[in-house]
């Protein structure tokens, strides 16, 4: 399968010249299977850019099919969903997987997001494409030849967060964002979940030494340690902090690669770049 980054920024989009090379749109990655299957991971504002690209496809004619895997419903992972033209064309089908919250099911959360105070759509009932919502569970499911697995990363009932693993012909891409490795059990589960993945995309907004206001995000070092412990081949640092310029990210990657080399580790490491296509 082929993965493509459409949004790699965390928290808030960062338009501007200092962010052009890595990109300033928020979280979204597309996956294309060998059989043409189309998946997307998260729908931050990167999803709007993916939507523009898909308009050249079956979606323009109302024959598009997309499976969207939502990790959680914070703005930077979800708020891009109602904007692209593809969701306003009748006939297109979106199958949306994600966690329900103690506040209500995913479908209700999205419907509230489209309420007239927040959106000219006036509610989910008025969005033209067919949307079906599927609460994510630990049971694997198929999208064509792709196998999708979910894993709960946070059991906070109000805002649960899930990770995804997508496999095709024995090769796996694992997507972990906004992880909070608050205890060993979660860490061990995450290591097991990412085991032998070809590609791990992992949020890594800050280093451990950085003093920042933090809502419990794992750090760059966590992403690297997880990749090493799980035997991952390629790690993409993801969900970049809005303060990280292109030059900062270049320096971060150089530093991490230097430390890996000094340790004799063979992990391939890079920072996720908007537009980049990754062969899995």
């Amino acid at each position: 399968m082929k993965a493509q980054f459409w949004g790699v920024r965390g928290y808030v989009p960062t338009p501007g010249a200092a962010f052009l090379r890595y990109g300033g749109n928020t979280c979204c990655v597309s996956l294309r299977g060998a059989g043409g299957e189309l998946l997307a991971l998260d729908s931050g504002t990167g999803f709007c850019q993916l939507g523009v690209a898909l308009m050249a496809d079956d979606f323009q004619a109302g024959r598009g099919e997309l499976t969207l895997l939502i990790t959680h419903t914070y703005w930077d992972h979800f708020l891009g969903l109602p904007f692209p033209g593809i969701v306003h064309i009748p006939g297109n089908q979106l199958r949306i997987y994600g966690p329900d919250s103690a506040r209500g099911p995913l479908e209700m959360i999205y419907d509230n997001m489209l309420a007239p105070v927040y959106s000219p759509v006036f509610g989910l009932a008025h969005i033209a494409a067919t949307h079906s919502f599927h609460p994510i569970s630990s049971e694997p499911f198929q999208v064509g030849q792709l196998t999708v697995r979910g894993m709960p990363l946070s059991r906070r009932a109000q805002s649960p967060i899930w990770a995804y693993r997508v496999e095709e012909a024995g090769r796996a891409l694992v997507y972990i964002t906004d992880a909070r490795y608050t205890d060993d059990a979660i860490w061990r589960e995450a290591v097991h979940f990412a085991r032998d993945a070809e590609v791990l995309i992992h949020s890594a907004p800050y280093l451990r030494g950085e003093a920042v206001r933090d809502y419990g995000h794992s750090r760059v070092e966590d992403a690297i340690e997880l990749a090493l412990e799980a035997g991952v081949r390629r790690l993409y640092l993801y969900h970049h902090a809005p303060t990280r310029t292109d030059d900062d990210l270049d320096a971060l990657v150089a530093r991490c690669r230097g430390e890996l080399a000094a340790d004799g580790q063979r992990l391939d490491l890079d920072a996720a770049r908007e537009g980049e296509i990754v062969e899995v």
Partner: protein, 303 residues
């Protein structure tokens, strides 16, 4: 009075190479008069304004935020506005009074679980909410503020800010006044814009007259020009207008400079250049036309 534009984009923010000059952040404008700071809308541009205020020695610590309406692109900068996390700041937030939810509840429900990791109760700044009406008039420091209704789904406000020497008028979201009449209920879009019945046509004409009256003699009119004419006929139900429509209002109101605003997220800098050139060629002599660009300072004699 002077103003600075921090966000120009409509619908959603965009980070791309072809929008660098006009900017990719959503709607936010700062207005200053006698060390009084008034913020128009809380789009993602507000994050940059917050950083600038924290850097500025002697910046005012009491701020007024005037919200036109609470569609996402107009509020998504709010929790990224750093002063709200610091003690000693006070924010007066003004917005349209609604029957379905208070302004405070609308902002509070956009934050907090399951949509955002921070809730209103986590903020350290002092927040005061003020619900206002279409036609409200009040004073903020040395500025006189007035509102009118814009033609937008679920209704939006337009603002006029006036000092003894300058007038800035902010109409970021409005459809034109010859087709769809928007209100609190959803409009069933039938596929092509057409004039409504006589009562609707009269309501639209009245709304247009009020907007022109609000914009009368403005030094700067920031006005919705999201769509091209071709896009407008396809999407009249979103409640946005075109550059031609914006210019007609500016001409009718005797405005000095029209700044096309609420740029469509797909619109490139080059496309906006072409739209501005066409409007300049069509404009009545004496009307300046530009497209709002992120970072621009509006200062009479200085622009």
């Amino acid at each position: 009075m002077f103003a600075r534009i921090w966000g120009t984009r409509g619908s959603y923010p965009v980070a791309r190479a072809d929008v660098l000059r006009y900017g990719g952040n959503t709607t936010c404008v700062e207005v200053r008069a006698a060390n009084h700071c008034i913020i128009l809308d809380a789009g993602t541009g507000m994050r940059l304004l917050g950083e600038a205020l924290l850097r500025e020695p002697g910046a005012p610590r009491q701020l007024d935020l005037l919200i036109t309406h609470t569609h996402w692109d107009h509020i998504i900068g709010f929790p990224f506005f750093a002063p709200i996390y610091a003690a000693g700041w006070r924010l007066n937030i003004y917005g349209l009074s609604r029957t379905r939810a208070s302004l405070r509840a609308t902002i509070a429900n956009a934050l907090g679980d399951p949509l955002f990791p921070v809730g209103l109760e986590d903020l350290r700044a002092e927040l005061h909410f003020h619900e206002i009406q279409v036609g409200s008039a009040f004073e903020l420091g040395p500025l006189r503020v007035r509102t009118a209704q814009a033609n937008h789904p679920y209704r939006a406000l337009a603002y006029r800010l006036e000092s003894d020497s300058d007038v800035l008028v902010f109409v970021p979201d409005t459809g034109p006044f010859h087709t769809v009449l928007f209100g609190d209920e959803r409009i069933e879009w039938t596929g092509a814009p057409g004039a409504g019945n006589g009562a609707e046509a009269r309501a639209l004409a009245e709304m247009r007259a009020q907007v022109i009256e609000l914009a009368q003699g403005a030094d700067w009119l920031l006005y919705d020009a999201q769509f091209t004419e071709q896009e407008y006929v396809r999407f009249p139900h979103w409640g946005h207008g075109t550059a031609d429509q914006a210019r007609e209002i500016a001409e009718a109101a005797g405005v000095r400079e029209l700044l096309l605003f609420h740029h469509d997220p797909r619109r490139s800098d080059a496309e906006l250049d072409a739209i501005v050139a066409a409007q300049r060629a069509a404009a009545r002599p004496g009307l300046l036309v530009s497209a709002a660009s992120e970072g621009r300072l509006l200062l009479k004699g200085g622009t």
